[in-house]
Structure formats: structure tokens, C-alpha cells
């Protein structure tokens, strides 16, 4: 079938063709033709957010929890600029998004027209690729390529800026296969020499560690399964970045917990003492490595990554393998065959020694609920439902990572690279759209939740039963912690003053509100949250000044962890202060 259609109509058809179920968006003048094309179209479900950052984060939550790309639709100017935070977030965390922005008509571009912003310019360095569409005849091919780029190679956000006249103008459209030049062909396989060498190194290692990251999740459930298989062959202990949690089951005997700044003692010590690090889909981020010249000093390093630019960016590795984690793991398993690795008894005994430090053990408190305990109870009471958990950013996020164990991928949604407060609620909304039968919980902080609080209305409108569990410590706890540890407790602007009554706020939006003030109410409050069929905010008042440990202060080595019970000097030199 070949016919004349408007740009807006071609866009909608192209999205349907890609299998898009949900569009997270917000209308405005420059996208009215697209909104009109969506009107009454049952094939796409439009979720009307309350702020465009919410649209982008919701699309991220949808993408991360389903493995499918998230789609965003916003207007020109402020619509596009509001979405930028979510786009930048998706860029750093490698989340596949396709963002459609309206633009002023072609003839007005560059004239400072009403609601004009240079969206392509502004988004250039926080998208994997972007387009300004000049002719509706190009749209079908552009959308098709945009989805390919967003979802293959290292996933990421791709933006399509469509001037209003291009949405209205007609072009020939047909429903046949799309003809376009194939110019994006990321490498997915390791060479046989690389694989042979990697397997040899692994088989010879006496103290190996698998250091896994978000790339394993991005490579799909098969990568997770293959990771477990390769681990079973070698018996190596496994640690993960914040982004990779869930790829390896947290109840496995060889699981070390998360590594890095707030990682476990055993994970960081194992990294420090390993003779071989097999990095799979992680990128040696500064939160992970700590002081670079002291990072894993005695190890050889293999780095599997789909993105060549991630290799040797901060840490020099001995063997880079550019490829998709699932494909390369599969190649390694085939090459491994029936091989036997080294006897790891001694290494594992050392690891067990580090486990003995019980770095996640925290002091108890008779007066106030310890935030760690709240997370542990939240996990215990919800685990049978295999929930999807999102977070905001701060101490609560790290506690969630430390005390809420994950066993499978796509259950854990958090803003790792950009560390965006306000991510969790819209991400939970997006995840709930994609997983209507799942229990979806945003573990939030009192400050972060206010950054996209308007999205409560979105959940109400679409009857999405998301749960927001606020660890309310009345502080921007993570900021307060840094000020305590490095600025002699000068708490400059980190107190959460004038907090709203979260229970009343919930009720004002048609949500249920629950407050938990004492440990004795903790389980019942959580249970009431689970049992309520609609959306719930739980305002869980926790101990206000608890710090998040273990902690490697920025610029310190993995061996310089601060644990609960250590006395910490309240200052830091300028070199350390200058680090992020």
C-alpha cells in the first residue's frame, strides 16, 4: 500500500511498526499535529506525564524493566529542555530511548521564534545520535534508523527533532520494508585470538574476580544466564557495579555484593587483591575504582565491552574484547569446553576472611528506625512478589543497593551515571506501565522525591499502583554525610526544611498515605502498602544522622574503606575535596 500521508501520520505509523506500546509525553504547540494523529489511535498508548523530565525518566524505567526502547514525545523549546535531564541520564546509563521533539517550522528556525530552542545543538552531547528532519519523506527511514541506533551497540537515547511544517506536509508512504542505507554496524563478537587468550588467562588465574556492570543487563537475559554459566565453570567470586545488580543472584555463595564507593569490604578487597579481573560490561567508573593508581594493582585485566571508547578510558587493560556481553560470554564458554580452572580454595578462604568483617552490619538503635533495617524489612515482606525497585539518589539509593538483594535482571532501576534525584518516581511509573502485574516500588529520599513529585498525578490518572517508600531522614542525607566527613559538619543547606506532610500530599493526589514512625509499626506499614491495590506513599521516618558505610572517600584506595564503627576525621585535603 502506497499513499500520501502527513509527516505526523508517518511518524505514528513508524512507531507502530517498531512495536511501540507506550509513548510518554506532554503536548504543546509544536507537536499538535502529532497529538492530533495520535487522537483516537488505539495502537499506541500515550501516558500524559506532568513534566517532561518525568516523561524521559518514565521511558527509562519502562526500557530498563522491559528491555524494550522507551519513547518520549515533547514539544519544542521548554518541552525539549525539560526533557534534557532524562536524556542525559539515559545517555550515561546506556538506556535505549527514542525522543521525538517538536520544533518551530523550518522557515522560523534560527529566528528566536516562540518556543524555539536549538534542541539538536543542546542534545548533541547527551544523545547517541540526533536528527533534524527536513522532509516528511525522510521520516520513516529516520525513525527506523533511530530505533536501530538506540537499541543496538551500546544502547542510548536518540532524538528526532521535527519542525511543525514537516509534521503537516505530505509525503509518499508505504507499508513495505524500509529502504535505507545501513551505516551503523557495531562489532558484537570477539576475535578467536582474543577469546582463546581470555580463556587461558581465566583458566590460569589463582585469584580471579568477575566485575560485572550494566552492560550485562543491556545484553539481555541471555547474557545473565551465560554469566552464571561461566561463573559456575570457574568458581570465581562475582561483584557488580550499581548498574549491574541482578545479573548475578545475590544469594549465591560466590556473590561479593556491590563494589566501589559504597561497596562491601569483600568486594573491594577482592578487587584489590585479585590476580585477574574479568570486567564484563562495566566501565571502570570513578565511583568504582577509587584512587586510580591504587586500583587493583596486582591484577591482569580483561575488559569485555561493546563500546570501544570505554576501553582504556581510565584504566589500562591487558586484554580488551570489543563485543556484546552475551556473544562474548558464549564464545568464552565454547572455548572453555571441559577445561578445569585453578584450585581456588585458598583464594576463597581469603575472600571468606574479608566477609568476616561483616561490612554491612550496622548499629542498632532503640529510639529510631535504622534505614538499613527498613530496607531489609521491605525486602523480606515483598520478596515473594519479585518486585521491580527504582530509587532516587542519595543514601537511600545506596542502602537499597546494599540491603535489597536482586536475583534477576531488569528488576533494579536506578540513576547511576548521572545520579539524578527525581528519577525514581517517574521510572517506577514507566516500569509499572511495562509490567502491569508487578509490584513496583520507588525507594525514595525526602529531598529527591520532591524533584518530580508532580508525577503522583500521572500514576493516579492511569491507575498505576506504584508504591513510593520514603526513607525520611529530614536531610539531604548524602550531602549531610559528605559535609560531616569532609567539611567538619558544617551543614550548609542540606537540611530538608519545610517538608510537606507526605501522607496528606498522597491523599491530595488520590493516593493512600501511610506513616511509619516506630520500628513496631514497620512491618504492618509495609504490609498495608503491599495490600493496598492502588498507589501508596509510605513516609518512613528513619534515624536522621545515620551515615552510609562502607565508604571509600573519593580519591582513596579500595583498601581505605571506612566501616561502621570507625572514627572518621571531619576534614579532607584539597586534592581529595576537588574530586567528585
Amino acid at each position: 500500500m502506497t499513499e500520501e500521508r502527513s509527516g505526523a501520520s508517518i511518524l505514528v505509523e513508524s512507531l507502530v511498526k517498531q512495536g511501540v506500546e507506550f509513548v510518554f509525553g506532554y503536548p504543546g504547540g509544536a507537536v499538535l499535529p502529532i497529538y492530533d494523529a495520535l487522537f483516537g489511535d488505539e495502537r499506541l498508548r500515550h501516558i500524559l506525564v506532568r513534566h517532561e523530565a518525568g516523561a524521559a525518566h518514565a521511558a527509562e524505567g519502562y526500557a530498563r524493566s522491559t528491555g524494550k526502547p522507551g519513547v518520549v514525545l515533547v514539544t519544542s523549546g521548554p518541552g525539549a529542555t525539560n526533557a534534557i535531564t532524562g536524556i542525559a541520564d539515559a545517555f550515561l546509563d546506556s538506556i535505549p530511548l527514542v525522543i521525538i521533539t517538536g520544533q518551530v517550522p523550518t522557515g522560523l528556525i534560527g529566528s528566536d521564534a516562540f518556543q524555539e530552542a536549538d534542541t539538536v545543538g543542546i542534545s548533541r552531547h547527551c544523545t547517541k545520535h540526533n536528527y533534524l528532519v527536513k522532509d516528511p519523506a525522510d521520516l520513516a527511514a529516520i525513525v527506523d534508523e533511530a530505533f536501530q541506533i538506540a537499541t543496538t551497540g551500546r544502547p542510548g537515547p536518540v532524538l528526532i527533532d521535527i519542525p511543525k511544517d514537516v509534521q503537516i506536509a505530505m509525503a509518499t508512504w508505504n507499508d513495505g520494508p524500509i529502504q535505507r542505507h545501513q551505516r551503523y554496524n557495531p562489532r558484537t563478537e570477539g576475535t578467536s585470538e582474543e577469546i582463546t587468550r581470555a580463556v587461558e588467562m581465566l583458566a590460569n588465574a589463582k585469584a580471579p574476580v568477575f566485575y560485572t556492570g550494566g552492560g550485562v543487563i543491556n545484553a539481555g537475559p541471555r547474557a545473565t544466564a551465560l554469566l552464571r554459566e561461566l561463573q559456575a565453570k570457574t568458581g570465581a567470586p562475582v561483584t557488580s557495579t550499581l548498574m549491574g545488580l541482578g545479573a548475578f543472584p545475590a544469594d549465591h555463595a560466590d556473590w561479593l555484593g556491590m563494589l566501589g564507593m559504597h561497596g562491601t569490604f569483600e568486594a573491594n578487597m577482592a578487587m584489590n587483591q585479585a590476580d585477574l579481573i574479568l570486567c564484563i560490561g562495566a566501565r571502570f567508573d570513578d565511583r568504582v575504582t577509587g584512587r586510580l593508581d591504587a586500583f587493583a594493582p596486582n591484577s591482569e585485566k580483561i575488559h569485555i565491552d561493546i563500546d570501544r571508547a570505554s576501553i582504556n578510558k581510565t584504566v589500562q587493560v591487558d586484554l580488551p574484547i570489543i563485543g556484546d556481553c552475551a556473544v562474548v560470554l558464549d564464545q568464552m564458554l565454547t572455548e572453555w569446553g571441559t577445561r578445569k580452572g585453578q584450585d581456588l580454595t585458598e583464594w576463597k578462604a581469603r575472600v571468606d576472611g574479608w566477609r568476616e568483617r561483616k561490612s554491612l552490619a550496622y548499629p542498632s538503635n532503640a529510639q529510631a528506625i535504622m534505614p538499613q533495617l527498613a530496607i531489609e524489612r521491605l525486602y523480606e515482606l515483598t520478596k515473594s512478589k519479585d518486585p521491580v525497585v527504582s530509587t532516587e539518589v542519595g543514601q537511600h539509593q545506596m542502602w537499597a543497593a546494599q540491603y535489597f538483594p536482586f536475583f534477576s535482571p531488569n528488576k533494579w532501576l536506578t540513576s547511576g551515571g548521572l545520579g539524578t534525584m527525581g528519577y525514581g518516581l517517574p521510572a517506577a511509573i514507566g516500569a509499572q506501565c511495562g509490567n502491569p502485574d508487578s509490584l513496583v516500588i520507588d525507594i525514595a529520599g525526602d529531598a529527591s522525591i520532591q524533584m518530580n513529585i508532580q508525577e503522583l498525578g500521572t500514576a493516579t490518572q492511569y491507575r498505576l499502583p506504584v508504591k513510593v517508600f520514603i526513607l525520611n531522614n529530614e536531610w539531604m542525607g548524602m550531602v549531610r554525610q559528605w559535609q560531616e566527613l569532609t567539611y567538619e559538619s558544617r551543614y550548609s543547606n542540606s537540611y530538608s526544611d519545610s517538608l510537606p506532610d507526605f501522607v496528606k500530599l498522597a491523599e491530595a493526589y488520590g493516593w493512600k498515605g501511610i506513616r511509619i514512625e516506630n520500628e513496631s509499626e514497620l512491618d504492618a506499614g509495609i504490609q498495608a502498602m503491599i495490600d493496598h491495590p492502588g498507589p501508596v506513599i509510605v513516609d518512613c521516618l528513619v534515624h536522621k544522622e545515620t551515615n552510609c558505610f562502607p565508604m571509600i572517600p573519593s580519591g582513596a584506595a579500595h583498601t581505605d574503606m571506612i566501616l561502621y564503627g570507625d572514627t572518621v576525621a571531619g576534614t579532607m585535603d584539597d586534592e581529595a575535596k576537588a574530586l567528585v
Binding site: H125, R183, D574
Partner: protein, 172 residues
């Protein structure tokens, strides 16, 4: 007290073949600023009959690891077909074109013309009191010529930046 540390740096010539699409130059130049890389010179022109492909020559300097990153980051851009680090590849020809305006009379004017001949710089505009010399060559040769003209009435200099290519019969 904290001080900013500097690392040893290398100078590299890169050629980048790209789809000749809108915004591509901004994308490449912007990548350098966004990630804190240096551009010493950048030239671009399309090189195919249908204007579909452009070749960009970039001269950059930075620590070794940064040069490798630049290479990788450029390759990661969707419209980029190919990146060649000519400095890595080996011997290559690097050429630049300059226009050099010199004004003067008498002795200095004669001397300027004589030196221009030695450098194979050609006068492309002549008045009784000035010349514009056109000169093509390696950048340091142009540097020397311009330096000599300074005492002989140099008015202004325009340079194209470098285009470069690997020596030998193969495509790099």
C-alpha cells in the same frame, strides 16, 4: 594546597571520513570541547561527486591516552565512517596553504620577493606597494616564511589548516 598537574603530550594528525550531513562539523568540533580535547587545526571539504562524504583533517595534541580516546570517541559517532591516526600509521604528507600579504617599497619589497622565490611562494596579487603570496607546504615551512616576512612588511596571514595523507600506494 592543590595545584593542577600536566601530563606529557603528543601531537597527532587524524583524518575522519564522515557522512556529509547537517550538523556533522558541530558534532565533531563539539565533541572536542565537550570532552576537553584540543584542536590545533581542522579542515573539511566534501570529497565525493555527490557531496555525500566529507573528509576532515584534525590536528590535535594531548597525552597518549587522550589521543586514543579521541580516536575511539570519533569512531563512535554514527555519521563517522572511518578515523585514521596518520601519526600512528606512519609516514604521511601534511600540507597547508597560506596567503601572506606583505606591503613595502624599495629594498624590503625586493627582499620579500626574493625570499618568496626561495620558498616557492607565488605572488597572486600585486600592487606597486604590496604582494599577496600564495604558498603551499608543510606547516613549519609556512611558519618560517611568515617569520621572515615579519621584518619585511607583513600585513596579514590566512592559513587553511592541514590536509594530510599517508605515503605509499594504499588507502590508509
Amino acid at each position: 594546597m592543590m595545584h593542577i598537574q600536566h601530563e606529557a603530550e603528543e601531537r597527532h594528525v587524524l583524518t575522519v571520513t564522515v557522512d556529509n550531513e547537517a550538523g556533522i562539523l558541530a558534532k565533531i568540533a563539539g565533541l572536542f570541547t565537550a570532552r576537553g580535547y584540543n584542536i590545533d587545526s581542522l579542515t573539511v571539504a566534501d570529497i565525493t561527486d555527490n557531496h555525500a562524504v566529507s573528509r576532515i583533517t584534525i590536528v590535535t595534541h594531548g597525552p597518549r591516552s587522550q589521543i586514543d580516546q579521541i580516536h575511539a570517541q570519533l569512531e563512535r559517532l554514527v555519521p563517522v565512517h572511518k578515523v585514521v591516526d596518520l601519526t600512528e600509521v606512519g609516514p604521511h604528507v601534511a600540507r597547508e596553504l597560506a596567503l601572506v600579504k606583505v606591503a613595502g617599497v624599495g629594498e624590503k619589497r625586493v627582499e620579500a620577493l626574493r625570499i618568496a622565490e626561495v620558498f616557492r611562494a607565488r605572488p597572486v596579487d600585486t600592487t606597486t606597494e604590496s604582494f599577496i603570496f600564495e604558498m603551499t607546504g608543510a606547516p613549519d615551512k609556512i611558519d618560517s616564511f611568515v617569520a621572515l616576512m615579519r621584518d619585511l612588511g607583513l600585513v596579514e596571514v590566512g592559513r587553511t589548516g592541514i590536509v594530510a595523507m599517508a605515503r605509499g600506494p594504499e588507502e590508509a
